[in-house]
C-alpha cells in the first residue's frame, strides 16, 4: 500500500514536474498567507504581520526547497542532473578523461587478468573433495624430489596407518591402431587406488578393483570423457566392449565425468592398472618393480594432519623391516619428501607466478598513483569553479555529491574498458602460458579480482576528488573566486611532486625486474648447448606391437626385430631428399624426455661395487655425434665397427672423463653402465658436454653407447635429422619414410630443435614477456605523470615565466629551468626506486640465470631508459614555457 503510493506519487511528480513544483509552491504560499492573516487577526498591520510570519516561519523559499527535496524522485532528479553535468565536464576535458580512463583500464585489466591466472593455480583449492588431504610423496635424491619404485610403494602402502589410499602412477602412451594412421594416446598406468586418492569415480561404469591390479590380470581401461566422445561418439554401450591398444584388446569398464580435471597428468585420456609382477619382488632387485620411475600420491585419513603423516613416513623410512627388503637405490636413507598436491604441482612455477603477481601489483599501484595525480592536477583548476558554485548557493554536500558522481562515471568508463582489457589479457595469458603450467584450463576471468581492482581505484579516485570539494566550506569563498591568485601552487604542488617521485620509483623497480630477466634470457640463449641447433628436425618414434615382445621361448628375438625396424627406418630417412645426416638416440637433449628415464648408475673398473654415479645413458646410432654436431675431443666416435658382436664401446662426456681421470687418458678404461653382470664397456672416445634438461642446468655426466651394444633395446627412440634447408619442411617426407617401413608405428613430437629450445625456456620467456609489458605500461604511466605535473606547473607559473623573460631570461634559460624541475623529480624517483629495486630484485633471484640480482648493466640501462623517457616527457611543457610571450602574459594580468 504505502510502497505503491511511494512509487505512484514519486513517478507522478517526476513526470509532471512543473505541476508538482507548483503544488508545493502553492501550499507553502498558502501557509504563509494564513500565518500573516492570523497575525493580522491579532491586530498587527499588514506589513508587521508579514514580518512576524517570516520571523516565525522562516524564509519562504527555503521552506519550499526543503519540502521539494523530499522523496526518492528528487534524488533521481538530482542524480540525473549530476550525470548530465559530469558528462559535459568529462567531454570538455577530453585529454584528462582519456588518460584517466586508459590508466584505470590498464591497471584494472592487467591486475584482473594476472590474478585470474594465478588464483586457480596457487590459491583456489583443487577440484577434488577435501583436496587438502591429497599428498604427493617422493623419494629424495640430492635433496630434491625424485621418483619412487613399485617395491617401495608396496612397503609404504602396507605399513602406513595415516592414509586412506596410496596410489602410484606413470605415463602410459598406447598406440590406438586400426585407423588410417596409428595414433598415440596419452594415458596413465596406475595402481587400482588411483581414483580413490583423487576422490573422483567414473560417472559411467565403475572404478578399478584391487583384483584387476595383479600380474596377468584382466586388461581393462577407463576412458576420459573427451576421448569417449571423440573416438566413441559418446556411446554408452561402449562399457564392456574391447578397444585395441598396442596390439592388445582392453575392456572398457568406465568413463570419467566431463568435469574431471587430472592435475597429475592433464592430457591423460585413459587409465589402466599397472599389474606388476610381484612374485620375486623380495629376492630379485634387477626388475622393473625396483626401478625408481613412479610417482606416488596418497589421501590422508580424516582427522590426520599432514605433519602426522610426514612423521609416520619418516619413521617408516628409518626402520626397514625384514619382510620388505630394500635394494641400495631404494633404501630411503635420505627420507621421503611429502607435500600437499597443490604445493607439489605448483612448486616449480610458484616463484615465477609470485613475481608476476608482484609486478602487476606495482602496475596497479602506479595506476592508482597516476589517477590521484591527474585528479589533483584537475582539482587545482576546479577550485575556482567550486567557489563560484558555493557563492551561488550550492551546499558543500551538493558539491561533494557532484564530485562523487563524476568520479563514479570515470570509474565506470575505466571499469568497462578494463573489463575488455582483462578479457583480452586472460586470453593472451592462456596463449602465452608455458607448457607445464598447471591448471591452465581452469583459468577464467575472476570477478572478485575485477571488483577489487575497480573498487580500489574508484575509492582512491573518490577520496582524491573530494579534496577540493572539502576545501569549499573551510576556506573563504573569496580566494577561490580570484582565479588570478597564484597561491594555489604551494601545498598541492608538493603532494603532486611526491606522487610523481613515487611513480618514477615504482616504474624503476618494475623496469629493473624486466631488465634483469632480459639479461638472464640473453645469457641463457648465449649458452652453448653442446651441439648445433640450426637445421635440425627431431621426431620420436615409439614402437608398438607384439612383434617386439621378447618371449621366453625366444629371448631377445623381439629386441632384434625392434633394432631392425629402427635401422631400416633410419636408412629410409637418409634417402629422403634434403636430408644431410640422420641418426637416432634414446634420449634427446632439451626435449621433454623425463631425465629419470635416461639416468643410470655407472661404475668404473677401478671403483668398488658399492660406488655408483648417476649418468645419462644415450643409446645411439653410429652417426649420432656427427649428426648432432657434438664435438669429439679425443679418441674416435662410435661407428659401424661397433656391431653387436664387436667389443662393447662407449664414449664419455668431457666432464665425466675429467672428474674420474684427472690428468689421465681415459681411452681404454672400462666401466659398467646399468647392470653389472655384463661385459665391460671400453672407453673409445671423449665428446663435449651437452645440456640435457635445460640450458640453465648443468648435468654433464653422460655415456654414449651403440644401441646394438646396449643391454636392452629402447622401445622409443628420437630421430635427429640434419637438413640442408628448412628442417620443418622435411617433416612429412621423413614421417612417410618411416611409415614406409612399418605404417603401424606412431610418430610423435615432430618439431625442430630450435622450437624445442624455445619450449625449454618457455617459463622464463613467459615471465620476461609479462615483465616487459608491465615495464612499458609503468614507463608510460610515469611519463604521463611527469608530463602532467610539469605542464600544470607551467600553466600555473605562466606569469612568473613571463616576468623572467621580461627581465632578460633567454628561452634557453627557461627551457633549462623547467627541464631541471622535471629532472630533479626524476632523479629523486630513480634514487628511491634504485633502493627499492635492490631489495625487490632478491625476490627474482630464483628466476635469474648467469647474472646477479645486482647486475650493474641491467640497472644502468634501465635508469638511462627511464631518464630518457622522462626527459622526453618534460620537453613539451618546457618548450611551451620557453615560448611564453612576456608581453602577452603581463598584459593579461
Amino acid at each position: 500500500m504505502s510502497l505503491w503510493r511511494q512509487l505512484t506519487h514519486g513517478l507522478r511528480s517526476l513526470i509532471h514536474r512543473t505541476r508538482a513544483d507548483q503544488d508545493v509552491a502553492d501550499e507553502v504560499e498558502q501557509y504563509f498567507e494564513e500565518a500573516t492573516a492570523a497575525s493580522m487577526a491579532r491586530g498587527l498591520s499588514a506589513e508587521e504581520a508579514k514580518r512576524a510570519a517570516r520571523l516565525e516561519s522562516g524564509n519562504m523559499t527555503a521552506v519550499r526547497e526543503q519540502v521539494r527535496s523530499y522523496g526518492w524522485e528528487n534524488a533521481v532528479r538530482i542524480t540525473a542532473a549530476d550525470i548530465r553535468y559530469a558528462v559535459r565536464q568529462l567531454c570538455s576535458n577530453a585529454g584528462f578523461t582519456i588518460v584517466c580512463v586508459c590508466t584505470l583500464a590498464l591497471g584494472i585489466g592487467a591486475s584482473t587478468a594476472i590474478f585470474s591466472a594465478v588464483n586457480p593455480i596457487l590459491f583456489q583449492p583443487l577440484p577434488y573433495p577435501h583436496a587438502g588431504r591429497i599428498l604427493m610423496i617422493w623419494n629424495t635424491f640430492h635433496g630434491a624430489r625424485s621418483e619412487i619404485a613399485f617395491g617401495t610403494w608396496r612397503e609404504l602402502a602396507e605399513r602406513n596407518r595415516s592414509l586412506d589410499a596410496l596410489a602410484i602412477f606413470e605415463p602410459w602412451q598406447p598406440a590406438m591402431t586400426g585407423a588410417a594412421r596409428p595414433e598415440r594416446i596419452e594415458g596413465q598406468s596406475v595402481s587400482a587406488s588411483f581414483f580413490r586418492v583423487l576422490g573422483v569415480a567414473p560417472v559411467l561404469g565403475r572404478d578399478f578393483r584391487a583384483g584387476e591390479d595383479v600380474f596377468n590380470g584382466p586388461r581393462v581401461v577407463i576412458l576420459s570423457d573427451g576421448l569417449w566422445r571423440q573416438h566413441f561418439h559418446g556411446d554408452r554401450a561402449i562399457l564392456g566392449h574391447p578397444v585395441k591398444l598396442d596390439d592388445d584388446y582392453y575392456t572398457v569398464i568406465g568413463v570419467m565425468p566431463p568435469a574431471f580435471e587430472n592435475v597429475l597428468s592433464p592430457s591423460a585420456a585413459l587409465w589402466t592398472p599397472m599389474q606388476y609382477d610381484t612374485r620375486q619382488i623380495a629376492t630379485q632387485f634387477d626388475t622393473w618393480a625396483w626401478g625408481n620411475h613412479l610417482h606416488m600420491a596418497g589421501r590422508l585419513k580424516p582427522g590426520i594432519s599432514k605433519d602426522q603423516a610426514v612423521h609416520e613416513f619418516a619413521q617408516i623410512a628409518r626402520t626397514p623391516w625384514a619382510e620388505f627388503p630394500r635394494p641400495r637405490w631404494a633404501g630411503l636413507r635420505n627420507g621421503l619428501i611429502i607435500d600437499s598436491l597443490q604445493d607439489d604441482i605448483t612448486h616449480g612455477v610458484k616463484p615465477a607466478l609470485l613475481a608476476v603477481l608482484g609486478a602487476v601489483s606495482l602496475v596497479l599501484l602506479i595506476a592508482c598513483v597516476n589517477v590521484v595525480n591527474l585528479l589533483l592536477a584537475r582539482n587545482a583548476q576546479r577550485r575556482g569553479e567550486f567557489a563560484v558554485r558555493a557563492a551561488l548557493g550550492a551546499t558543500q554536500r551538493r558539491i561533494i555529491r557532484q564530485v562523487i558522481t563524476e568520479t563514479l562515471l570515470l570509474a565506470l568508463l575505466g571499469g568497462v574498458l578494463g573489463l575488455g582489457v582483462a578479457a583480452a589479457g586472460v586470453r593472451a595469458l592462456i596463449w602465452l602460458s608455458p607448457p607445464g603450467l598447471p591448471r591452465v584450463d581452469a583459468i577464467r576471468m575472476d570477478t572478485v579480482a575485477f571488483t577489487f581492482a575497480l573498487g580500489i581505484t574508484t575509492l582512491i579516485g573518490l577520496l582524491t576528488g573530494l579534496i577540493p570539494a572539502l576545501h569549499v566550506s573551510r576556506e573563504n569563498v573569496q580566494p577561490g573566486l580570484q582565479q588570478n591568485s597564484r597561491r594555489t601552487a604551494g601545498g598541492h604542488a608538493w603532494t603532486r611532486s611526491a606522487l610523481v617521485i613515487t611513480e618514477m620509483a615504482l616504474a624503476l623497480i618494475l623496469l629493473v625486474g624486466a631488465g634483469l630477466l632480459l639479461r638472464s634470457m640473453q645469457r641463457l640463449l648465449g649458452v652453448d648447448p653442446g651441439f648445433s641447433t640450426p637445421h635440425l628436425l627431431t621426431l620420436q618414434v615409439q614402437t608398438s606391437g607384439h612383434q617386439f615382445d621378447n618371449l621366453p621361448s625366444a629371448p631377445g628375438a623381439g629386441d632384434n626385430v625392434r633394432r631392425r625396424f629402427f635401422e631400416q627406418a633410419l636408412e629410409a630417412v637418409r634417402q629422403v631428399p634434403g636430408v644431410k645426416q640422420a641418426a637416432f638416440t634414446s634420449l634427446l637433449p632439451l626435449s621433454d624426455d623425463p631425465p629419470v628415464i635416461g639416468l643410470y648408475g655407472a661404475q668404473f673398473e677401478d671403483e668398488d661395487s658399492q660406488t655408483g654415479h648417476n649418468v645419462f645413458r644415450y643409446a645411439v646410432s653410429p652417426d649420432y655425434c656427427q649428426t648432432m654436431g657434438i664435438r669429439l675431443l679425443s679418441g674416435r666416435c662410435l661407428d659401424e665397427r661397433d656391431s653387436s658382436s664387436a667389443p662393447q664401446a662407449a664414449l664419455l662426456s668431457d666432464s665425466l672423463a675429467r672428474s674420474h681421470f684427472p690428468g689421465q687418458n681415459p681411452i681404454g678404461k672400462r666401466l659398467h653402465v646399468g647392470p653389472r653382470d655384463r661385459p665391460w664397456y671400453t672407453v673409445v672416445g671423449v665428446v663435449g658436454d651437452v645440456k640435457q634438461t635445460s640450458l640453465a642446468i648443468d648435468q654433464p655426466d653422460a655415456v654414449y653407447l651403440s644401441t646394438v651394444q646396449s643391454w636392452f633395446s629402447d622401445d622409443t627412440l628420437s630421430f635427429v635429422v640434419r637438413a640442408y634447408g628448412d628442417p620443418a619442411a622435411l617433416a612429412s617426407s621423413v614421417k612417410n619414410a618411416i611409415w614406409s617401413v612399418d605404417g603401424n608405428q606412431p610418430i610423435v613430437r615432430v618439431t625442430t630443435m630450435e622450437s624445442l629450445l624455445a619450449v625449454t625456456e618457455a617459463q622464463r620467456h613467459f615471465v620476461l614477456t609479462l615483465f616487459e609489458v608491465f615495464g612499458i605500461v609503468a614507463l608510460l604511466l610515469a611519463a604521463v605523470g611527469i608530463y602532467g605535473i610539469l605542464s600544470g606547473s607551467v600553466t600555473e607559473r605562466t606569469r612568473e615565466i613571463g616576468l623572467r623573460a621580461a627581465l632578460g631570461a633567454s628561452r634557453n634559460d627557461i627551457l633549462v629551468l623547467v627541464l631541471s624541475q622535471g629532472m630533479r623529480l626524476t632523479a629523486l624517483g630513480v634514487l628511491i626506486g634504485f633502493c627499492g629495486a635492490l631489495a625487490a630484485s632478491q625476490a627474482l633471484a630464483t628466476l635469474l640465470f648467469g647474472i646477479s640480482p645486482l647486475d650493474p648493466l641491467a640497472y644502468l640501462s634501465v635508469i638511462t631508459l627511464l631518464a630518457t623517457v622522462a626527459a622526453v616527457a618534460c620537453w613539451t611543457p618546457a618548450w611551451r614555457a620557453a615560448r611564453v610571450d612576456p608581453a602577452i602574459t603581463l598584459r593579461a594580468e
Binding site: 500500500m1 504505502s2 511511494q6 498558502q30 498567507e33 522562516g58 527555503a62 526543503q66
Partner: protein
C-alpha cells in the same frame, strides 16, 4: 531560545499531526496552529518540517490530501486521516504512553 517555547520533540511530530487530524481534516497552517494552541505554546512547529512530514505521511498511506476551499474562501491543501492512519495513531499513542509512564516512574523513583 525561550524556555516556554520549544521545538517539537524529535520523533513525535508524526504522532502530533495524526492526533490533530483525527479531530477533523485540516490544512498545514491549521495543524501548526492547533498544535501550538493545544500545547499552550509549548511546541512550535517549523513549516518546512511540517509540510515535509505531511508529504511523508501521505506517501505512507496514513493521510489523504485534497485541495479545497477554506472557510475564508482560500484554496488550501487539506489533509485527512485514513483508516491506516487511525491504526497508526493508536499504535503510536500506546507506544508513547508506555514510554512516558516508564520515564515518569523512573523520575519518581529517583526522588
Amino acid at each position: 531560545m525561550n524556555d516556554q517555547n520549544t521545538d517539537v520533540i524529535q520523533g513525535t511530530l508524526d504522532m502530533l499531526i495524526l492526533k490533530t487530524l483525527s479531530l477533523e481534516p485540516m490544512h498545514g497552517f491549521g495543524i501548526a496552529r492547533r498544535v501550538e494552541q493545544i500545547s499552550r505554546g509549548v511546541f512550535k512547529v517549523n513549516p518546512g518540517s511540517l509540510l515535509t512530514a505531511l508529504q511523508r505521511l501521505e506517501r505512507a498511506g496514513w493521510l489523504d490530501a485534497e485541495w479545497r476551499q477554506t472557510e475564508n474562501s482560500r484554496r488550501a491543501k487539506f489533509y485527512e486521516l485514513t483508516r491506516a492512519g487511525e491504526k497508526q495513531l493508536e499504535h503510536e499513542t500506546a507506544d508513547w504512553t508506555r514510554r512516558a509512564s516508564a520515564i515518569a516512574r523512573l523520575l519518581k523513583a529517583e526522588g
